[in-house]
Amino acid sequence: MRDKTHLEQVERWAEHVRDNPEWKKQVKSFLDSQIIIANRFYKKLAETSEGREKLKLLGKLR
């Protein structure tokens, strides 16, 4: 387990989510941005000279 304050934050956030139906609006951009940023990165990587080979190693290309 990570340190005490980390676990306290997990508890605090879970209670917030349980008591606030609006929680999804608060995390939507956070969740989406991870996918958008990663896809943008992989697409740029694919355009570089060794990018496709690296993506194969990462299991992102057939």
Binding site: W13, V17, V27, L31, I35, A38, N39, G59, K60, R62
Partner: protein, 190 residues
């Protein structure tokens, strides 16, 4: 109506579009990290884990074809025969993405034992998520995370789910599933 669609995350849209195809051919459940995320865990994930009932090759061939027609591709191979014989029937997972996209991925594998069958049998749509897909029960998710997966992230996911479903969790069911995990999954790894 448009607002409803816009309110959904990329992960939700991906999961619902994918599951809509799968459910025409097989029973399935979404398990693990995505379950926690759809209950508000503020952490990222690259893939969504799905367990699908074991299918014959002919049935899987039709399913794979439908996924391709719906705009998905499999990272392991384009050929249904390779996906089925080299991966799925050996207990290995395969990953599908939308064509031309790297993420998100749907990681699918066939149900492999009575524990997976039990999860499929007790699958649920979870109102809290607002999603039209089937999940493994909250009790299953907590049991797997606490007894089998056990990383910091998994233990925190379990803690989060326990708080969300406080006073609604069937501890006896969690105990039964943990026993089965020990019997079926942990003995074979010793």
């Amino acid at each position: 109506m448009k607002r409803e669609v816009d309110d959904k995350t990329i992960l939700e849209r991906f999961a619902e579009d994918f599951a809509r195809i799968i459910e025409k051919y097989a029973n399935y459940i979404i398990v693990s990290g995505f379950v926690a995320i759809m209950h508000g865990r503020s952490r990222g994930t690259e893939d969504i884990d799905m367990i699908v009932e074991k299918l014959s090759f002919e049935r899987f061939f039709e399913l794979h074809k439908a996924l391709i027609e719906a705009g998905f591709e499999c990272m392991q191979s384009a050929k249904a025969e390779i996906i089925y014989k080299d991966y799925l029937v050996n207990g290995d997972s395969v990953r599908y993405t939308r064509i031309g996209e790297f993420l998100p991925e749907m990681e699918i594998k066939f149900a492999k034992d009575s524990l997976d069958e039990h999860q499929l049998k007790t699958r649920q749509k979870l109102d809290f998520t607002g999603m039209n897909v089937y999940f493994s029960s909250i009790e299953s998710n907590i049991a797997f995370k606490e007894e089998y997966l056990k990383s910091d992230k998994d233990l925190e996911d379990a803690k989060h789910l326990r708080i969300i479903y406080k006073d609604k969790i069937n501890e006896e069911e969690i105990g039964k599933i943990k026993k089965e995990i020990k019997r079926l999954r942990m003995k074979s790894e010793e």
